[in-house]
């Protein structure tokens, strides 16, 4: 067995050089408008198309769907280059990192061929539809229905906190197809639906800074054909949980983005004269980003040797969300009174980082998972 080795292969370094050169030539000179606005959403969608034209939008996917067949390590290299280049946020992230892995594992050939290519180009942008007004951390208690009808299902109920839904095209989520199933996580079905289908009402919700980053979805007998059911009806919970593992785990937040943010934070600290009050926090951000990178390389190495990653993805999610928040808070403090402005280079990232401990399973839920499944503590009162 080979010894511990932290260097990338020559082929991966060549890939890095190719990505770096492409990004240097294509990344917009000035940042795009916020993707949580109509104008910014369109600009980010166009950027996805530009990435896709040269096969950079979904490097880890198979070539026939627009990717480059890049393995996990090569994907990590791409992400390091992507964020270091100051490239725009990814408007297609929900589809690419949550729905696509589900389709690869549980979808049909027909679904993959139909859904993935327009996802890769940004032509179809996807929103997630997990939470409901009464089902958040306790997702399995959801009550939105999928009712059997000729050739498909009728969706009824309400979803909320649906990220990107204000401007997106389609959505995926869980619906209760068998209300008589004995346990809450049974009788759920995983479906994809069109946000512009008859019966769908999208009500955008302003996040903390007022931008419509998510939305409520009202579903009134929305028809979904059978071809848009993923996996077997009634088995949606297990399928969704495999997606949730990806979400918390390796693929949602790559180390590259935090390395880039830490690099920018050091630059800001230096530009402000290296003030003493922020020294420790700047250093901790640098160290935290490096720790997250190395943790991810270790996890990727295990994954490549066939190990399941499992509940340690919960430590991962707690770590990166707190790192991201601390890093942005430090930046705002370094900006001084200017830090309260909503139009600095750090404002949008700060507002976004505030949501990190909340989404993809709150950090409290993650700590429960760590306690139970990693530490073996008895099931607790919540």
């Amino acid at each position: 067995m080979p010894a511990v080795d932290l260097s990338h292969s020559r082929a991966d370094e060549e890939f890095r050089a190719e990505a770096r050169a492409w990004l240097a030539a294509h990344v917009p000179r000035t940042p795009l408008p916020s993707l949580e606005t109509a104008e910014g959403f369109a600009a980010h969608r166009a950027w996805e198309a530009e990435l896709a034209a040269d096969r950079w939008s979904v490097v880890s996917w198979p070539k026939r769907y627009g990717g480059r067949d890049a393995g996990l390590l090569r994907w990590l290299v791409f992400e390091e280059e992507y964020w270091a280049a100051g490239a725009p946020g990814r408007v297609g992230q929900n589809g690419i990192s949550l729905l696509a892995p589900t389709l690869f594992d549980h979808g049909t050939q027909e679904q993959r061929a139909r859904v993935l290519p327009p996802m890769a180009t940004g032509e179809a942008v996807w929103a997630q539809a997990w939470s409901e007004p009464e089902a958040g951390s306790d997702l399995a208690s959801l009550t939105s229905r999928a009712v059997r009808t000729d050739g498909g299902w009728l969706l009824r109920g309400q979803k909320t906190w649906s990220s990107r839904a204000a401007f997106a095209d389609r959505a995926f989520g869980l619906f209760r197809s068998d209300p008589d199933a004995p346990k809450p996580h049974q009788g759920l079905t995983y479906l994809m639906f069109d946000l512009r289908a008859p019966g769908v009402t999208v009500r955008p919700i302003g996040r903390l800074d007022g931008k419509p980053a998510f939305a409520e979805l009202f579903l009134d007998d929305v028809f979904v054909p059978d071809e848009d059911v993923i996996g077997e009806p009634g088995r949606g919970w297990r399928i969704a949980m495999s997606t949730a593992g990806d979400e918390r785990g390796l693929t949602l937040r790559s180390p590259g983005r935090f390395l880039a943010s830490a690099h920018r934070l050091v630059a800001l600290w230096r530009a402000r004269g290296c003030p003493e009050h922020a020294r420790a926090r700047v250093a901790d951000a640098v160290v935290g980003a490096r720790a997250y990178q190395l943790f991810t390389y270790a996890a990727a190495s295990r994954s490549l040797e066939g190990e399941e990653l499992g509940p340690e993805s919960s430590t991962n999610k707690v770590f990166w969300s707190e790192l991201d928040l601390a890093l942005h808070e430090t930046a705002l403090d370094l900006l001084g009174p200017e830090g309260e402005r909503a139009d600095t280079d750090w404002s949008e990232g700060y507002v976004f980082s505030l949501a990190g401990p909340l989404y993809a399973g709150t950090n409290e839920i993650q700590r429960d998972i760590i306690a139970e499944r990693l530490l073996g503590l008895p099931k607790g009162r919540r």
């Binding site: 010894a3 946020g89 690099h263 530009a271 700047v282 160290v287 700060y350 760590i370 503590l377 008895p378």
Partner: protein, 395 residues
């Protein structure tokens, strides 16, 4: 890229863990704390037989060649079992001595475990404050030069003027308020058979302890004053390299201390019941331990990564984070054990007190951060494209 231990490395740590478990270290530690090193010396010999000290020594001096990864793995186990004695100092001594003509006088005994070495580092070295440029630079202006300390002509020239090198700079860098003539303290110099002192003129031998040990908050650490009254071994010891190895070893040791504290506390909260249920079922308890686990889980790859490429900044980062994680875990362990954890009699105390002591040994958190920032600022000599906001696009 393969950032995983191989089967041989796992077997090595497994066998060390088994040997140290069987040794019953708490009784050894308590003897050592009282100044009775007999059982500690016996354990030391077995650790040497397992090859641990040879991992920092080249083969032509009887060692196994330099193997920082295996050394780090061994120190995780030494920390996990709270093994007493000048472990880190013996590694530092081996690195300080290995290029000297006199190396063959010393190194074989260190490798074999017949000799224990300690090293007195400059006492109360200066707190590492980097002066800020007097004029704040505008965001878009030309980058200022990286801030450095003013060179002090009285200080001997060091191989590299880095935060790590400055740490071991003697004399003028001492913290204000410390007595430059005070004897330097060395860990367990009463039990050590080779006593070294890093001084302004180089590396010297101390012929004997210069007084009784001072008490440490960790009773197993006997801080003994030394005066450099012996032979000058070299005027130009490899201070920075020794510090890098010492920090790597202590980072790994701290990680092991933290892992043991977590294991013991998890076991305790599973069996301790109140209100009719195990206290480990209460969310306040569970979440505190989940945070300790997360901190340790992210310190571990930093330690292993620093061992793979022992750059001073990476080793400093590992030392910082491993010691912080161990101390966070110690605080959780004390809190969750309640009053029993606050007693010297209960064995948990052997790890609790060590987590505190290791935090400042061989570099305080601030000194480690300075090494990290020195390195990070270097990355800004050729700034890359100014980035737009990183954010958005989450679920």
């Amino acid at each position: 890229m393969r950032f995983l231990l191989d089967a041989e490395q796992r077997a090595f740590t497994g066998s060390l863990h088994a040997m140290l478990s069987a040794a019953g270290t708490p009784a050894v530690i308590r003897d050592w704390s009282r100044g009775d090193p007999a059982r500690g010396r016996a354990l030391w010999s077995r650790i040497a037989e397992a090859g641990v000290f040879g991992l920092a020594v080249p083969e032509d001096h009887g060692g196994l060649g330099r193997h920082p990864v295996e050394l780090a793995l061994a120190f995780v186990e030494l920390g996990r079992h709270a093994v007493p004695g000048p472990l880190v100092e013996t590694v530092a001594a081996a690195v300080l001595l290995q290029d000297l003509p006199s190396a063959k006088r010393f190194l074989p005994g260190l490798v074999a475990g017949t000799d224990l070495a300690t090293v007195a580092t400059p006492l109360g070295h200066a707190l590492t404050t980097t002066p800020a440029p007097t004029e704040p630079a505008p965001d878009t202006g030309p980058p200022p030069t990286a801030p450095t300390r003013d060179p002090d002509p009285a200080r001997p020239r060091l191989a590299a003027d880095t935060a790590a090198a400055r740490y071991l700079a003697p004399g003028p860098d001492r913290a204000p308020g410390t007595d430059p003539a005070a004897p330097q303290l060395a860990l367990d110099a009463d039990a050590a058979t080779l006593r070294l002192v890093l001084t302004a003129d180089g590396l010297r031998v101390a012929t004997a302890a210069a007084g009784p040990p001072r008490r440490s908050l960790d009773p197993a650490r006997r801080l003994t004053p030394l005066t450099p009254d012996g032979e000058l071994l070299t005027p130009d010891p490899p201070r920075e390299r020794a510090l890098t190895w010492a920090r790597l070893a202590i980072a790994a040791q701290a990680l092991g201390v933290g892992l043991a504290l977590l294991d013991r506390t998890v076991a305790y909260v599973r069996q301790r019941t109140q209100f009719g249920v195990p206290i480990g079922s209460f969310q306040a308890v569970r979440h505190r331990l989940a945070d300790a686990r997360t901190a340790l889980e992210f310190a571990r790859p930093l330690v292993l990564g620093a061992a793979v490429s022992p750059r001073p900044a990476d080793v400093a980062a590992a030392k910082l984070m491993a010691c912080e994680a161990a101390y966070t875990t110690a605080r959780a362990a004390l809190q969750l054990h309640g009053a029993i954890g606050y007693t010297a009699e209960y064995d948990l105390s052997l790890w609790l007190t060590k987590a505190r002591a290791l935090r400042t040994a061989w570099g305080t958190p601030e000194e480690c951060r300075e090494a990290v920032l020195d390195d990070a600022l270097k990355g800004h000599d050729a700034p890359r494209r100014p980035a737009g906001p990183v954010g958005e696009a989450g679920p």
